[in-house]
């Protein structure tokens, strides 16, 4: 698994709630049997006009969003399908941090497995960050997983909560399966008592 310790990057604001995984990566791209190369299909339907040309209105297509690696969105980000292709596409596109008031459970979990950090903050703080993106050109945020703080160069600093185990795995890029297999004796014992 990929590790994550600290990341500073350009923020793109996506002022939308309930962004579902069908939007993040539409089904026609789920036919591939590889794990890589999904970035170019990210938000396919929103990013293109009907004739296939780039949609200049779409958040990620705007000039000021080029090179963004921190995604700021509204509540319930990543709802819908369990497809891990969604975090694969976001990560492949270049995102390392996603900030929202809430995430759908499966998506949230899938992010950690792919070296991306989803950060939950209150609606108020998220509102403030939307304001800051609008206020400061080329607005950047730094997410530090060691100290669990999110900060910017203009005086914003906010702690965020993350499950200790997931934090540990992400900081050290630990392989979940390898970790579980360290307890293989317990799995075997369980199987013997629960045939």
């Amino acid at each position: 698994m990929k590790s994550f310790t600290q990341h500073t990057g350009l923020v793109v604001a996506m002022d939308r709630a309930n962004v579902d995984t069908d939007q993040i990566i539409p089904k026609q791209f789920l036919k591939r049997i590889e794990r890589i190369g999904f970035g170019e299909f990210l938000f396919w339907d929103w990013a293109r006009r009907d004739d296939g040309s780039p949609n200049p209105e779409f958040e990620l297509n705007r000039p000021e969003a080029q090179g963004a690696s921190v995604l700021l969105a509204r509540r319930n980000f990543g709802c819908g399908s369990s497809r891990e292709h969604a975090p694969w596409a976001l990560e492949d596109f270049g995102f390392r941090v996603i900030i929202a008031p809430s995430f759908a459970d499966i998506f949230y979990n899938n992010c950690f497995k792919n070296g991306m950090l989803p950060i939950k903050l209150t609606e108020n703080v998220v509102d403030e960050l939307f304001g800051r993106v609008a206020e400061y050109p080329q607005y950047q945020l730094t997410a530090d997983l060691q100290t669990c703080t999110l900060s910017d160069p203009h005086g914003f600093s906010m702690p965020f909560a993350v499950d200790a185990f997931r934090r540990d795995c992400l900081l050290h890029g630990l392989d979940d399966i390898g970790q579980t297999l360290e307890h293989e004796d317990k799995i075997t014992a369980y199987e013997q008592t629960h045939p």
């Binding site: 002022d15 939308r16 709630a17 309930n18 579902d20 069908d22 939007q23 539409p26 089904k27 026609q28 789920l30 036919k31 591939r32 049997i33 590889e34 794990r35 339907d45 009907d50 509204r74 509540r75 319930n76 709802c79 819908g80 399908s81 369990s82 497809r83 891990e84 975090p87 809430s102 759908a104 459970d105 499966i106 979990n109 899938n110 497995k113 792919n114 499950d163 200790a164 185990f165 997931r166 979940d176 399966i177 579980t180 297999l181 307890h183 293989e184 317990k186 799995i187 369980y190 199987e191 629960h194």
Partner: protein
Amino acid sequence: MAMPSSENSPRTLFEKIWDNHVVHAETDRQTILYIDLQLVHEVTSPQAFEGLRLAGRQVRRPERTVATADHNVPTTDRSLPILDPISKQQIDTLRNNCQEFGIQYYDLDDARQGIVHVIGPELGYTQPGMTIVCGDSHTSTHGAFGALAFGIGTSEVEHVLATQTLLQNKPQTLELRVDGQLRAGVTAKDLVLYLIGQITTDGGTGYCVEYTGEAIRALTMENRMTVCNMSIEAGARAGMIAPDEITFDYLRGRPFVPQDFDAAVAAWRQLPSDAGARYDKSLIFDAADIAPQVTWGTNPGQVVAVDATVPKPSDYADPTEQKTAASALDYMGLAGGERIADLQLDRVFIGSCTNARIEDLRAAAAVAQGRRVADRVNAMVVPGSGQVKQQAEAEGLDQIFTEAGFDWREAGCSMCLAMNPDKLAPGERCASTSNRNFEGRQGKGGRTHLVSPAMAAAAAIAGHFVDIREWK
């Protein structure tokens, strides 16, 4: 971390199943939870099998793993080759992986093939008290049997294949109690759409839902599956219903149930939540308040009664909700304020793991019998499995549908997610018995309204939505 509940204090159904599957728990660590059954399909598994191969790992319990192809399969004549080479490759990959790792696979030419959430219960793999996972969010369907069943990502699919366990944080419990009786014409689909409308599309996030109450107890097994299926549309990790005689009667005699069925039933009877067991949250509803439901927007929580009008953005106080409603209306080609019954349809889709079991098809056929699909409407029926198809044909339902002008298809997910050639054209408006009305879900630019099977059939015939309670 929450400590495991004591076996002596009253426990919920969820807690009993959870406690019974803990392999290892320690403070500040996710629990290692044993998984009894993993269901596998072609779309979310190739990378998991590839991961196993790269790490030189085996499938720990191939006999606890069952696979079929459903998402990406054609629903036209099965004797013809699959035209899309990438779809074909994905299905071939699953077949090869199952062979390599010794996993039971139901192939396209097998009558037992079908949507994974339809065939698991149908074949008796799904049983009360089990932990069940699948790389698919609608795994919550299996909770209808009193199982703890939830969707996982591909990395987790690989984790379960390799270890037969999963790392989990214990979810909180949410009781959704529906008292009283559903009114005539109101179905399980309406019930669950109503609940999602009430608690909203993320109201269940972080929870395992248990549906309780008289209206839930009265549902048939297939209807219970419809309800649990859509738990994820409220954001819930899982949805479950306590097993009872209806559950046991459904399972008795199915191919993969325990050999000593009576002993199994005796154990399953211990599963329902104890009197006095506490949920983290409980919400109570009255079945009599529920009318047939129709979604108007682009998430399943954007739903109203069939005799209502489409809301306007100004009906909402919160600015984010206003914006969400405005963009949903825009996508749906609606202004707000239209009567639901005035919405004209181009397509009707009866299918999916929500509503493509035999009872669903019977309900739709009862409405369609002796009628004709409206000229402007293209309607299709896609059975949930090969066995559902056979049963429907034995009952003559296919005749009723085809005589009425519905297209009768082979089993699969089909236009529920439109990964195969079955899809909406941009701007087409569709009444669908599936579970997601997301933008583009049934085809780019397609406009989906979620309804029950009877409502979908009636809409096909009338060419617009009708209140099934007034259908003669």
